[in-house]
């Protein structure tokens, strides 16, 4: 039942970044139990000039014995060192740390406490925009009609313990809950507005049994080896380091369990008529998004990523959301949202000129035209990959 990190703590010192990290659970009986941490910290302080970063983002719990030792170390390390300041980097994910460490700032102004959550991921502002919610709901509606049949092929069965990492607004978790009746379903996301929305929807629809939790997918507090099936959809592509996320998905998956990811290769979006314009726009979208360190071409690369992470029995398949297997207007609405996101917000932020943006918009408009045309065809291909964590 334990599902928060329970390992004995570890400490690391990264001299390049002057960062001393404490990870895990620090609940000693006596100060003597922390002699190793104390010695490593003192050595680290001796090697630092300027700012020492004390990273407690993944210090899940600390008792007062431990906090007393750490406080004393931080305060005393500044004595006789006018060149030194300390920045304690906390995370609101663990709940207590910002408040607890703030007492040290009050004692010594050269100790600062910074909560890093607002800077989880580059480009987070794009995915936290409330206007995106409608787009996300429609996307899930269109992909679910494929995925409800695909998921069992990748190992999902009723009664499993399931985690949906990067759950967004939680609508996939709701569908999964209804269709597959998991024994436990944890849905995690780093966006507080999305989670609030997810909880509200669950409450409005009287859906009980989904645990919506706040967290950083690349540094989850969830314990190792907990879930039979872990899903992470359309998300590796919006992280600058997708391998970190995969490593975390691997970690929380039980040996023998499976991790399921979906991603796009956006340049392969297609449509007819006006295929050439559509193709140009989506190729440019891939480059545009790459400018912000996201890889929306990652779909076919996920097989290699999963194998490199250590997964076995990696399965790949693709499916295509089209205007012929869904309401054409729903698909057109999605494309319209993409147009506003990419040709509106992101191209402007990159500093693209008006002519380029107009051409970019035209491709989206042509894709909408293809989707709504009575003889047209518009497609959005998605790559599914899943792998087993070896026993």
């Amino acid at each position: 039942m334990l599902d928060v990190l329970q390992h004995p703590f570890t400490v690391r010192f990264d001299e390049n970044n002057q960062e001393f990290s404490i990870i895990g659970l620090v609940r000693p009986q006596t100060e003597y139990d922390l002699r190793d941490l104390t010695e490593k910290f003192r050595r680290a302080v001796g090697a630092v000039r300027g700012t020492l970063y004390v990273n407690v983002k993944r210090l899940v719990r600390i008792n007062n014995v431990g906090f007393r030792v750490l406080s004393s170390l931080l305060v005393s390390s500044l004595e006789g060192r006018s060149d030194l300041r300390i920045e304690v980097v906390t995370s609101s994910v663990v709940g207590w740390s910002t408040r607890k460490f703030s007492v040290l700032s009050q004692l010594n102004p050269r100790i600062a406490v910074a909560e890093y959550d607002n800077d989880f991921y580059p480009g987070q502002a794009f995915v936290e925009d409330d206007n995106i919610i409608a787009l996300l709901r429609t996307q899930t509606k269109l992909t679910w009609q494929h995925e409800r049949d695909i998921l069992p092929r990748h190992g999902l069965r009723p009664g499993m313990t399931v985690a949906d990492v990067c759950c967004g607004i939680g609508d996939f978790a709701v569908l999964l809950h209804k269709q597959f009746d998991p024994a436990r379903l944890v849905a995690l996301d780093h966006s507080k507005p999305s989670l609030s929305y997810a909880r509200k929807v669950a409450a409005d629809f009287h859906i009980e049994g989904i645990e919506y939790v706040y967290g950083d997918a690349s540094e989850m507090l969830l314990e190792d080896n907990q879930f039979d099936f872990v899903t992470c959809r359309h998300s590796l592509q919006i992280f600058d380091k997708p391998e970190l996320i995969l490593r975390e998905l691997f970690r929380i998956c039980k040996p023998g369990g499976r991790v399921y990811v979906t991603n796009e290769k956006v340049s392969h979006c297609l449509g007819e008529p006006r295929g050439e314009s559509i193709q140009w726009t989506y190729s440019e979208v891939a480059k545009l998004v790459a400018h912000f360190n996201h890889d929306v071409e990652i779909g076919p690369k996920t097989r290699k990523l999963m194998i490199d992470t250590g997964f076995g029995e990696v399965k790949m398949e693709t499916f295509m959301v089209t205007n012929t297997d869904s309401e054409p207007q729903d698909f057109a609405d999605i494309i319209e949202s993409w147009r506003e996101l990419f040709a509106g917000k992101m191209a402007t932020m990159r500093g693209d000129d008006a002519a380029f943006i107009a051409r970019l918009r035209q491709g989206f408009d042509d894709h909408i035209y293809a989707a709504l045309h009575p003889k047209g065809y518009a497609g959005w291909p998605i790559w599914v990959a899943s792998g087993t964590k070896p026993l």
Partner: protein, 183 residues
């Protein structure tokens, strides 16, 4: 949960509604001699119990982490400050967003005196200063520190009351839910 199963504890889920309006969610009872045999039991019990009662809170993981931290401080206090023989009982109660932890701890005269002094200290208006002083004091750890922190940082209402002449009730009421929702 190997460590906990070795403790011979009695765990019961008891949904009794008390006069105070709190519902008893679960109780753990174990010999105080067994409890104090291993410091790690504080951590194991607090983590397990917190998880058991947090699944239906707004953010189960965050809530569990906060509740475990609070419960652990109470258990560590009980570990350090107990006397005589008998059972240590831990109860978790709930009334809406509010949770209450109750510990019944075997106590001799010295322990009863310690808790009476602690109750007086907590009642003073300078609890935050006392907590800070305990944090940076030289010498051994002040056994009141965990309770001071619960009062100052968690806004807990702490009740300390003797149960006859051989036990003491240590209770903390707090509301972690708004914090969980806004974290």
């Amino acid at each position: 949960m190997g460590a906990i199963s070795r403790m011979n504890m009695m765990l019961s889920k008891d949904a009794t509604v008390q006069e105070s309006g709190f519902t008893n969610l679960l109780s753990i009872s174990m010999g105080v001699d067994v409890f104090t045999a291993d410091w790690l039991y504080c951590d194991r019990i607090s983590s397990y119990v917190a998880r058991m009662v947090s699944h239906n809170r707004t953010d189960s993981l965050l809530y569990s982490n906060l509740l475990s931290s609070a419960l652990n401080e109470l258990l560590e206090t009980a570990f350090r400050c107990n006397g005589g023989v008998g059972s240590m009982t831990c109860r978790i109660l709930r009334r809406g967003a509010r949770d209450r932890i109750e510990l019944e701890i075997p106590a001799d005269d010295a322990v009863l005196a310690f808790f009476a002094e602690t109750a007086a200290a907590l009642a003073r208006s300078d609890a935050a200063d006392q907590y800070r002083a305990a944090l940076f004091a030289d010498g051994p750890v002040d056994p009141r520190m965990g309770l001071l922190e619960l009062s100052v940082d968690y806004g807990a209402d702490i009740e300390i009351a003797p149960i006859g002449s051989s036990a003491v009730l240590l209770a903390a009421d707090f509301n972690l839910e708004p914090e969980a929702a806004h974290a």
